[in-house]
Amino acid sequence: AQSVTQLDSHVSVSEGTPVLLRCNYSSSYSPSLFWYVQHPNKGLQLLLKYTSAATLVKGINGFEAEFKKSETSFHLTKPSAHMSDAAEYFCVVSDNYGGSQGNLIFGKGTKLSVKP
């Protein structure tokens, strides 16, 4: 079965400093991986996705993630945090075979706090 593990439940950074949110995945197949962001009282929004093309994926709002098969990781980074980045971030793997194609399996989330 496919799964994702988000290694930190809470990350706190200062505005203007780099962001690193860690994610490891488990998959028997070639996975599709995503990062979603959830701001308070708003719907989940797709940040970026990896679907077996380039291993370095660029997303919205300056975020990017690198797929590393040897490490089974898909960490999310941003060079410089902004106050508006404060939110909950979910690493997601797609159950992309057979009848469950397209189903998303979410990690438990990492809450990002940004200090002024």
């Binding site: 719907g43 989940l44 996705k49 797609s94 992309n96 009848g99 397209g102 189903n103 998303l104 979410f106």
Partner: protein, 115 residues
């Protein structure tokens, strides 16, 4: 374009009562999903529709949960009777089609509190 709409946004009920949630997906989206997000966890898929047919309901507690998508557009999710552990945010999402290449768009969710 208009996003995924859900109502109500908040609901408080007592255990053993029934409750229903409504979702209106983005126009033209064939696939509709219902997720349950318990506090402190990521969303978990409950049921997936392709047009008005069920694709996957393997994680839906069918003894108390039911869902329908009449005419392949709007959908309702019902819980009867509710238990304390059903307290969660219920998210609706839609996509153009069901393959993983298609982005899922999420609604704001309905926060259910069962007392």
């Amino acid at each position: 374009e208009a996003g995924v709409a859900q109502s109500p946004r908040y609901k408080i009920i007592e255990k053993r009562q029934s409750v229903a949630f409504w979702c209106n997906p983005i126009s033209g989206h064939a696939t509709l999903y219902w997720y349950q997000q318990i506090l402190g966890q990521g969303p978990k898929l409950l049921i997936q529709f392709q047009n008005n047919g069920v694709v996957d309901d393997s994680q839906l507690p069918k003894d108390r949960f039911s869902a329908e998508r009449l005419k392949g557009v709007d959908s309702t999710l019902k819980i009867q009777p509710a238990k304390l552990e059903d307290s969660a945010v219920y998210l609706c999402a839609s996509s153009l089609d069901w393959a993983e290449a298609y982005e899922q768009y999420f609604g704001p969710g309905t926060r259910l509190t069962v007392t």
